[in-house]
């Protein structure tokens, strides 16, 4: 006799409707009154279909209830008790997965000395100051990196080249030659290339801004907010804050670079958690199109590591901004809070990740010397290399990395409803906290679950109140 139990899911309510987020498929369904009643009756129990239908037949009709059970079963919102999940074998991406994004560290040097920096700070992985990687990437290495990118991009029509550092503008010469060369190669190969660059904005000058705009280079500015926040950690080597230097340059950039959206990327620390105040300053006062926040990556004992109450406050403010974003979105108005937009996109696509991000998969970081690592955060680290620009991707090493880091090998994640989106979290964060990229980031599990729940509610609201908005995320 078939015994039924609830499938793995997270229920949520939005716009006065009930929804289920099914795990691990990441499908979102809206329930009708019959399916609501079936799931409520089943609860945590194990029942036969007849037992389940009996109590509900009077209200909805026996046939109707059985049909509903059939639908819930088909989408795995209910399943046979004790049944093996049928996706037992680890599902791996194709062995020759093409490269989508290459992050090129054009220099490991920086003119700022931000205390929390993962390149130079106390938790750094590579010895940027005294290691054997060159301080600046040479033009020759940059050219070879571009060739590597196109070679590894396979059948992909578009390649993304992101410049990272150190401070990228310290090596402006190589930026210029790389962009020109990448365009030339893209034209020859019949491909398209898109560029992005991260900078601390201190070295922006009119001719650089002009070059960025002309070349349609997306710019992300690392900035922590108003003067007090910015000057707390984002300081020059003599300890002087950088706010007064960067603000006029950012204003010029925003004014003269209209070809691509300019985003701000904020690092949150225990000392700097006024998310709403920062957001308001960066959008209203400075005029950024997008603002994204990320908590600092750090060992637990650093004084800037965010404590539990800090995470609560951060979540509360994220939620407030998310609901603000919702009201804007329902009215088809832009809102700059990019954290929620990115998650809504993933929810709408129904992304269910085996890996937390594209690192080592469709994204790699290239160090100044030409070593290919998992991502920009590991660039230059011998322990995390997966190839070289001249030798290409080391497919054996890549495969071993992916097998080792697959969600199937993170047992702590297997009962979490947020795993389709989180998949254990950032490798670099795990390496810094737990000394291993394979560890799940257990220190922010609760936070991630609460944030995922918030985003699901926001998503449900958008789906009910302005479904046309979501069409932009569909292929």
């Amino acid at each position: 006799m078939t015994l039924l139990t609830r499938g793995e899911m997270h229920e949520f309510t939005a716009a006065n409707q009930r929804f289920v987020y099914l795990v691990p498929s990441a499908a979102v369904f809206r329930l009708d009154p019959v399916s609501e009643a079936v799931l409520d009756t089943l609860g945590d129990r194990i029942l036969t279909p007849d037992q389940l239908a009996d109590g509900l037949a009077d209200r909805f009709g026996l046939e109707n209830v059985h049909a509903t059970i059939g639908e819930l079963h088909a989408v795995r919102a209910v399943s046979e008790a004790g049944a093996w999940p049928d996706d037992q074998l680890m599902q791996m991406p194709p062995a020759d997965m093409p490269l989508t994004t290459m992050v090129m560290n054009v220099t490991s040097k920086c003119n700022l000395a931000c205390t929390y920096c993962y390149e130079y700070g106390d938790d750094r992985i590579t010895d940027s100051a005294c290691g054997d990687q060159p301080d600046f990437m040479s033009e020759e290495t940059a050219r070879q990196s571009v060739d590597f990118m196109f070679r590894e991009s396979g059948e992909n029509k578009v390649a993304h080249l992101n410049f990272f550092g150190g401070e990228t503008l310290l090596n402006f010469k190589v930026l210029q030659s790389s962009v020109a060369y990448a365009r030339e190669r893209a034209a020859a190969l019949g491909k398209e290339v898109q560029f992005g660059l991260t900078t601390n904005a201190t070295l922006l000058k009119p001719h650089i801004i002009e070059w960025l705009a002309e070349n349609r280079i997306g710019v992300t500015v690392s900035i922590d907010g108003p003067q007090d926040a910015q000057d707390e950690f984002r300081v020059f080597k003599n300890g002087r804050g950088s706010y007064d230097v960067v603000v006029p340059k950012i204003k010029a950039l925003l004014q003269k670079h209209p070809t691509r959206p300019i985003g701000a990327r904020v690092t949150l620390t225990q000392q700097n958690l006024s998310v709403r105040k920062i957001f308001q300053h960066l959008t209203d006062d400075l005029g950024f199109w997008e603002v994204g926040f990320a908590p600092v990556t750090t060992s637990t004992f650093r004084d800037y590591a965010i404590e539990d109450e800090g995470f609560d406050s951060m979540l509360e403010q994220f939620q407030q901004l998310a609901y603000e974003w919702l009201e804007h979105t329902v009215d088809n108005r832009h809102h700059a809070f990019s954290n929620v937009r990115d998650t809504i996109e993933e929810l709408h696509r129904g992304v269910s990740k085996a890996f937390p991000c594209g690192a080592g998969l469709g994204l790699v970081g290239v160090g100044t010397g030409g070593d290919v690592a998992l991502c920009h955060r590991f660039a230059g680290s011998d322990d995390h290399a997966i190839g070289s620009i001249t030798g290409g991707m080391d497919r054996v090493q890549q495969r071993a990395f992916l097998e080792q880091h697959h969600i199937d090998n993170k047992p702590e994640c297997h009962t979490c409803f947020a795993r389709p989106l989180c998949s254990g979290g950032c490798y670099h964060e795990a390496h810094t906290r737990y000394g291993s990229t394979t560890a799940a980031n257990l220190h922010y599990c609760t936070w991630i679950r609460r944030w995922t729940d918030t985003c699901l509610r926001i998503y449900g609201e958008v789906a009910e109140r302005n479904p046309q908005y979501l069409a932009q995320f569909e292929n």
Partner: protein, 110 residues
């Protein structure tokens, strides 16, 4: 589906899959392109122990006689092979290579 409304793209794909009229269980010889993954003992990746992708036996990856060993060593098939743990540990002692020596396998009467 009448009672569940797909909201995101994944849900729509699932709905399309489960609503397809031919979504019944597909046998090995379904004729669909793609890798041949045998049913049954597929856990142990011993390919093609029943029939090949055309429904015949000509394309099997190993002689059918060897299935016997695959079934009794790696698979739970107590009704068809002797209990080699308790009662008949030596029943295949004369059969070093199944494809040549299968006739030498002893009959076991419980």
């Amino acid at each position: 589906m009448k009672h569940l409304r797909p909201i995101n793209q994944k849900a729509s794909k699932i709905e399309a899959t489960v609503s397809r009229p031919d979504h019944d269980v597909r046998a090995m010889q379904g004729g669909s392109p793609g890798p041949h993954i045998p049913l049954g003992c597929s856990f142990v990746f011993s390919p093609g122990w029943e029939v090949d992708s055309t429904g015949g036996t000509a394309g099997l990856c190993q002689p059918v006689e060897r299935d016997l060993f695959d079934c009794y060593i790696t698979c739970f098939w107590p009704a068809h092979v002797p209990d080699h743990y308790n009662y008949a540990p030596d029943w295949t002692a004369k059969c070093a290579a199944a494809q040549q020596d299968w006739r030498n396998i002893d009959l076991i009467f419980p």
